[in-house]
Amino acid sequence: MLQPPTLPTNYTVKHGHIKTSTGKTIRSEEMIVNMGPQHPSTHGVLRLEIVVDGEIIVDCIPHIGYLHRCFEKHCEHMTNYQQVIPYADRMDYCSAMTNEWAFALAAERLLKIEVPERVEYIRVIMAELQRIASHLIAVGTYGIDSGAFTPFLYTFIDREKILDLFEMTCGARLLYNYIWIGGLSHDLPPRFIDQAKEFVTYFRPRIKMLNDLLTYNEIFVKRTANVGVLPKEVAINYAVSGPQLRGSGVNWDLRRDDPYGVYHKLQWEPQIGKGEMGTVGDCWDRHIVRMREMEQSLNIIEQSLAVLPEGNVQAALPKRIRPEKDAEVYVRTEASRGELGYYIVSDGTASPFRVKARGPAFVNLSVLPEIARGSMIADLVLTAGSIDIVLGEVDR
């Protein structure tokens, strides 16, 4: 009979001995429990091997790779750089526009293409709308992890409006193939600006409602404050980025510190966790950073819609893709989950020689064993949820 493959754990279970009052000794043992690939709460196919002593976690070992789809290998066999964009979409499928933009930026730097200003502004609008949509998923599923089933559906109603905007522009709701190297595939349709402004006015009070319903609810605060605390030094040492890093109090946002696009022309502030309800860097801080980032994204979208210049979005699309031989480039952007970077090596042909994607969720997940030790299983679920992983990005 075939046995399922066992993945190696280099953990030996500790035994203990408890003396009872009658003089006998009872052997106690730590338990290895599997929060398996199929679980309502691990946000995808992630296997967490947890060693527990009662209800306290002694160690937690994540096993990934269940969603590996050989993205980097596929890129080497594409006919040209343009064909990589649908594949890049599918890495972090909850936040596809930011993936495409990062790759397009990398390719444009490699091919030395300058895009028109209208393209930059539209890219910013799309990326910020996508950031709101991605944070809505994060917040909604975080509510489900903690037991509140309703905020998830409210966030998805708001997300539908964003996806309607995207569908109106490029024809797809989740995986867009919209941001092309050198420009965009379509220009904005006539009704886009009005509908986007309607969305901004509609969404602001919804953030307040979500805060009242979930974020400031005392039960939720008690569950998430002082849980999964990620200290500043540990976060920096593990190369954590995105809302997780900012939740630990580090004021680092690639849109301001390593600028790309037109972010330097717009007024917005990166949001940082200050430990309002517990310690700095706990799960509540990461959650409130995401909620406040959604508000900031609304500001960015409003400002961009107001100053959108005219132009032709397909003016800079390259006719032939001819990079230099032996050129390489690494470009990093602030995706919804953190620093998304692409390292492209070209060999002079129209298809890349090697593409390496630095997925933020992969790096952010690596910090989970460090912050989960010593907490309870119920806390582990909330900690893993606050890291906000998407397995497509972890496994690529």
């Binding site: 338990m31 429990v33 679980h39 309502p40 709460s41 209800e55 509510g143 489900i144 992890d145 903690s146 037991g147 509140a148 089933f149 309703t150 559906l153 409210y154 109603i157 319903l213 979930l214 609810n217 039960i219 939720f220 008690k222 569950r223 309870m376 299983i377 119920a378 806390d379 679920v381």
Partner: protein, 347 residues
């Protein structure tokens, strides 16, 4: 009950008949509450549920029951077979036995014993045994977690329940639930939550404490039934289905049925003790034996609705926070209320 006895001379036959009537009520009520829960949950979440079977889905609970009835009976290979089979029935028996002392109307109570409230608390502990058995016998670490957590939770929340019952009993003077309800007959002012039929100065002093007691009893009863925010034993996000994970088909239906029957039981107890049971709030208007059933079921149903509403709004508490709430918040406040009510009644 007595007049039914006059129709049929055989006592055994009467006893069997009286015990079947709550069972029929449970089954009919389970269908209604299943539908209510699904529809209320759906509309709170801005969606509609169940539009296809029957008009707006009214036949869906029957379809669900039929589906569960015809499912395959799967028992895990290394499960403890006897315990696994017995667990759902013990849980259900614990719930069902409590229906014996619920006063549905002035003429109908399953068993008019003088220890009604005491019997309720005692029999409610059987459910704990059933859940522990289910958790252990499933041979599944996650179910074990669920079972053990649930045992801790239910045992610690029985104390606030019992204390609240004591307070209501102190005011009314009898453990017999039928007597308690008769004591509150005569209009909304006589309900125990507003102090009971006492002289107005005592009533005014007792009223804040009885309101707090009623509220605490309601919260403790949500915890007894394992519903959010206290539903750690079956926390769907963490333990898949907790102690229920390995159960399928009719055994799962038994657990499900016992959970919903428990919902009604605890609401009914709260209503009988604090809100006047089968007595009409308008005094003599709309009162009588048949009206009694309507008032009793309607009032209990309002609390069932509130429990459903709370379930779909709030996140869940962690195990140690659960214990904190029970031992450090509910119990001390109830002791204080007990002291206060006792003093006021004496003075």
């Amino acid at each position: 009950m007595e007049f039914i006895q006059t129709i049929f001379a055989n006592e055994l036959f009467v006893a069997v008949l009286l015990s079947i009537i709550p069972l029929i009520f449970i089954i009919v009520y389970a269908l209604v509450v299943l539908y209510t829960e699904m529809k209320v949950a759906a509309h709170i979440q801005d969606r509609v549920a169940y539009m296809r079977t029957g008009w707006h889905g009214v036949l869906q609970p029957i379809a669900d029951m039929l589906k569960l009835l015809q499912k395959e009976d799967i028992i895990p290979a290394h499960a403890d077979k006897l315990l696994f089979r017995m667990a759902p029935f013990i849980a259900f028996v614990g719930t069902y036995a409590a229906y014996a002392v619920l006063p549905f109307s002035s003429i109908f109570i399953g068993s008019n014993i003088n220890l009604g409230a005491f019997f309720l608390v005692a029999v409610g502990s059987l459910v704990v045994v059933g859940i522990l058995m289910a958790g252990w016998a499933s041979n599944n670490k996650w179910s074990l977690f669920g079972g053990v957590r649930s045992a801790a939770q239910m045992i610690s929340y029985e104390i606030p329940t019992a204390l609240a019952i004591i307070i209501a009993v102190m005011i009314t003077g009898s453990l017999n639930l039928q007597e308690v309800t008769k004591f509150q007959d005569g209009g909304i002012g006589n309900w125990v939550i507003f102090g009971g039929p006492l002289p107005w100065n005592q009533k005014l002093m007792v009223m804040p404490f009885t309101i707090i007691t009623f509220f605490i009893m309601f919260v403790a009863s949500i915890a007894e039934v394992n519903r959010t925010p206290f539903d750690l034993p079956e926390a769907e996000s963490e333990l898949v289905q907790g102690f229920n994970t390995e159960y399928s088909g009719m055994r799962f239906a038994m657990f499900y049925l016992s959970e919903y029957a428990n919902l009604f039981t605890v609401s009914a107890v709260v209503v009988a003790l604090f809100l006047g049971g089968w007595s009409s709030p308008f005094g003599s208007l709309m009162s009588g034996p048949v009206w009694g059933i309507f008032w009793f079921v309607a009032k209990a149903y309002i609390f069932v609705f509130i429990q459903i509403w709370v379930r779909w709004t709030l996140p869940r508490l962690r195990v140690d926070q659960l214990m904190y709430v029970s031992w450090k918040v509910l119990t001390p406040w109830l002791f204080f209320c007990l002291l206060a009510v006792g003093l006021i009644l004496v003075i």
